[in-house]
Amino acid sequence: MNEAAWSLGVTIACMSFLAMSAYLLLLAGKLSFGQQMYFGIGAYATAMLTSLWGWNLWVASLVAAAINALIGGSLARLLRDLYGAPFAVASLLLAELCRLGFSQFEFTRTIHGELLGPQGLNGFGQIRWVLEQGWNIRDYALVVFGFLVSVLAIFYLIENSRTGLRLRMLGVDPMLARCQGIRVDHYQVAVGAVAACVASLGGGFYAHSMTYIEPALFDLMMGVHAVLYAYIGGLGSVLGALLGVAFDIGILAFIDTIRQHRMTLFAMVMLILLIVRPRGILDESLARRLRLLPRSRHAP
């Protein structure tokens, strides 16, 4: 496998984290166009910790994820009563506010005679921790894949547990879920925190693979793509989110002949899919057939 393929793999993995966080919220019945905010905060926080204070990438990623979990949880609590379009709009407003914050955020330190750190609109360059460790793209890709697989495993377990079922329940009908004694508010906060955490991991790895980040990267389109990935892939299993990302970045972005029409093609596929397969390729029924959802071991 050549360098480009590995780096493509890393990009797919990073975006998969983002898509997974959007997917988790979709399960809980919340459509968020603002997950790029946590992705961005994760990217900035992780990059600052590694570039400005020389922290180890793992520690930095986990600390950034923890910070994000805190923010995600509290915002989820703030927006707990919003569903559907109002929630989508609110999440979008929050993300845009955050992006505005990034464009005003300047914090620099001189490292080895160079001024490093976020410089508002001019972005945050020279995020070279990975390169300075002498890692090649393959080593880095394996690490990112490792994180991705572990998060996937946790998602898989949750989806197969009654917690996963309850999550789907409150996604389908929050009011009935409350009658079932499901603490909807608690679930919403937990889901918000975990989703932010996952997005943050992706952001951290993304920043180190790009070596440069700027506010414009974390715009509305990134948030929209995250949701579209989850939808293309299907709402039956977390693997759907990966499928969506792989389809867009893996297939469309890498075929040079259609590169210029990638977005057009992507949007068309999305529309057709929503018409022929409203809940995505890997929807609940297919997920059940593939035994990706809880089922009776000994059918009565």
Binding site: S161, D173, C179, E284, R297
Partner: protein, 225 residues
Amino acid sequence: MLLEVKDISLTFGGHQVLAGLSFALDEGACLGLRGANGAGKSSLLHILSGFIQPQSGRIFFRGQSIEHLPLEARQELGLLRSFQQARHFRQLTVWENLLGSLRMADAPWQLIWHTAARRHMERVLREGLEIFGLQHVHQTRAGDLPLLESRCLEILRILLQDPQLLLLDEPCAGLNQSHASHILDAIRTFRPRVAMVIVEHQVSLLHVYCDRQLLLEGGQLHSLG
């Protein structure tokens, strides 16, 4: 004494729905509630299950005042209700609806991993499915069920949450006599000790299954012996 309702009043848009209504219910008893449409039967269930707050009055559940408790807290005490139009988690299958609803003390690690507990759960669910005659549809989407199965699923889902008092809002609406009796028999077989308040228009059913019947008229209750 399981449930004690004292002097409940409710007004909607200037119209007195319930006027100082009081009654009590013993453990394991079944109370039939009758009345014309709009008499306030459903409103009473709304108040008992915590959907709406009465303007005045007290509600005691096993001696504990519950009128200010939210839905979830009442559910935890074992006070559960069904709806006039059966409600499910439509995109989930019958099996998933039941598995997610079954009340079982989950250890923290069971939140994401509980294969050990699964065998026990499946036994309970299979028993429920057999009693309510839902075995053949256990993998069907709840949203695709016919009326009888839909009603059965709703009630079984509630029973799996280990209720102490069951508030049934016209559980047999639209069903014939035999189907209705099938549901009520199933409830008694699956949870013999559960107390019930049944709002129902089919008087004959109430005669058979309830120890006591009340008629709700002009916001007041009248005992029918």
